[in-house]
């Protein structure tokens, strides 16, 4: 029993939250963190008591119209956001939790939980979700490539083989032979188109050989043929000095944003703009579609992390990523990267 008391004492003292326990209006006990807060930030426990007191009074006030509200009267604790050291350059944000320990003895506690830690935990959780999403996306991509190879490429070649076997049949007239060889040619032609299309989807060689702008034009052309939606690519940018990573990310963002616009926006025109300035390069994808409410799509919606993933990829390379959209008013996706060498090259 004594040992348990020791552990509890240790837990109380080493907690990362600052805990104050009051009886009536006097401070009874406080843990190590609370003492440090009191010394370093000159936080007066009586001030906290007053904040808690006013919040309690506000909540239980008769004029609030909820004095007899059963649920609220049963609540034994209450949390209030609180900022300490707000005149310094680094204000500290806390949640102050007021909880009643013993109603008859007028014993209650005030706990300050750092919002920084809570935010950090949220961030970590978000990151884990993202990692899971990226892994799943990898697998899905492989599954899709495998299915494409099997269903379209393999089938096409198989049909051509069957056709060639039929060519060996000696009974065919010249006319039949011509017709059959035409069929085989068509099948091989389709297969060739599929292979080229797949190669382009996986990793466009244009991007490596001719640069970002031509690659975006090829992409736009292909998606335009596949959807009927006009996709314009305009811009003036020397992308040869950009790192391969930045080029890839810009290309993927354009791809994802155009795909999103085609899938969800009901757009009739999409414009892709790539422009470099002296110290930065900027990519914009503008559509005239339905638009959406951005905040409600920023966190994980259970299905896809497209926006979050785009944003993380840009941030990882020191860029900024922004989505502007309003319901019924189109969407603009912007990615901007700082470039140190661009200006220098232009001056030379």
């Amino acid at each position: 029993m004594l040992a348990t008391k020791d552990w509890l004492g240790q837990y109380f003292d080493h907690s990362t939250d600052a805990i104050f326990i009051f009886k009536d209006d006097a401070l009874l006990v406080q843990n190590q963190m609370a003492k440090e807060l009191e010394q370093e930030l000159k936080v007066d426990p009586m001030y906290l008591l007053q904040v808690a007191d006013t919040s309690v009074k506000q909540k239980y006030s008769q004029t609030n119209g909820c004095f007899n509200c059963i649920i609220q009267n049963k609540m034994t604790n209450l949390s209030v956001p609180l900022t300490l050291a707000d005149d310094s350059t680094h204000p500290l944000h806390y949640f102050m939790v007021y909880s009643i320990l013993d109603k008859t003895a007028h014993l209650f506690s005030i706990t300050l939980k750092s919002r920084g830690t809570i935010n950090r935990m949220d961030q970590l959780a978000q990151q884990r979700k993202l990692t899971r999403y990226v892994n799943r996306a990898h697998e899905l991509e492989r599954k899709r490539i495998s299915a494409d190879l099997h269903d379209s490429i393999a089938q096409g070649i198989y049909s051509a083989i069957i056709g060639i076997r039929r060519l060996r049949n000696a009974d065919l007239s010249t006319e039949q032979l011509t017709a059959l060889s035409n069929v085989i040619e068509n099948q091989l032609d389709d297969t060739l188109k599929e292979v080229k299309g797949m190669a382009l989807d996986i990793r466009p060689s244009v991007l490596d050989n001719f640069g970002l702008l031509p690659a975006l034009k090829v992409l736009a052309n292909r998606l335009e043929e596949n959807s009927g939606i006009t996709i314009e690519v305009a811009g003036k940018a020397d992308t040869s000095v950009l790192s391969e990573d930045v080029q890839s990310v810009l290309y993927r963002i354009a791809q994802e944003a155009i795909n999103n616009a085609l899938k969800h926006a009901n757009a009739s025109e999409i414009t892709v703009l790539l422009v470099n300035h002296q110290h930065f390069i900027i990519l914009e994808i503008i559509d005239d579609g339905d638009g959406f409410d951005v905040p409600s799509h920023q966190s994980f919606n259970g299905r896809s992390l497209g926006l979050l993933n785009m944003s993380e990829r840009v941030k990882a390379l020191n860029g900024t990523f922004n989505i502007k959209s309003k319901l019924h008013d189109g969407t603009t996706v912007t990615a901007k990267f700082p470039v140190a060498d661009l200006g220098r090259k232009q001056h030379v």
Binding site: N186, D189, D190, L262
Partner: protein
């Protein structure tokens, strides 16, 4: 444009209008293979179209109902076209552009080469179902 091409223009244009007039379809369209080296298959004629987006579409063999008709030379139909998204195997671009819910497509065979030369597609926007009968009705118009 050669004389034979010009007559085929009139022929298919007339065909599309005829099907649109005689049946209840909300969209009727014909896609044909171009004779140039790229041999792209594009929608050339349409009746009941909402916009001109369909002209930009290049049909992909094996993709969507029109693509399947090209790949196999057999008719196809589908009642749930509006659920498919870009990248789905059954995604049919013209269905999305023209907000079709269901459509049927039959092959246009070239008499000379006996190859699939194009597609005749007809569909609805109001959820009206299509079936084998739709295909049969459409095929009647392609009989010589």
């Amino acid at each position: 444009m050669t004389l034979s091409e010009s007559s085929s223009v009139n022929h298919y244009n007339e065909l599309v209008n005829q099907v649109y007039r005689n049946e209840l379809f909300e969209l009727v369209a014909v896609a044909l293979q171009s004779q140039t080296a790229a041999r792209q298959i594009k929608w050339r004629y349409a009746a009941g179209n909402q916009n001109e987006k369909f002209r930009k579409i290049v049909l992909r063999s094996g993709m969507g109902i029109a693509g399947l008709v090209i790949r196999t030379g057999k008719p196809f139909w589908c009642d749930r076209l509006n659920v498919y998204q870009l990248r789905d195997a059954m995604y049919t671009p013209i269905a999305k552009c023209e907000s079709l819910t269901g459509a049927a497509a039959v092959p246009i065979m070239s008499p000379a080469t006996r190859l699939v030369d194009g597609v005749l597609l007809a569909g609805f926007r109001n959820g009206q179902p299509v079936s084998n009968k739709t295909v049969q009705a459409l095929s009647q118009y392609l009989l010589p």
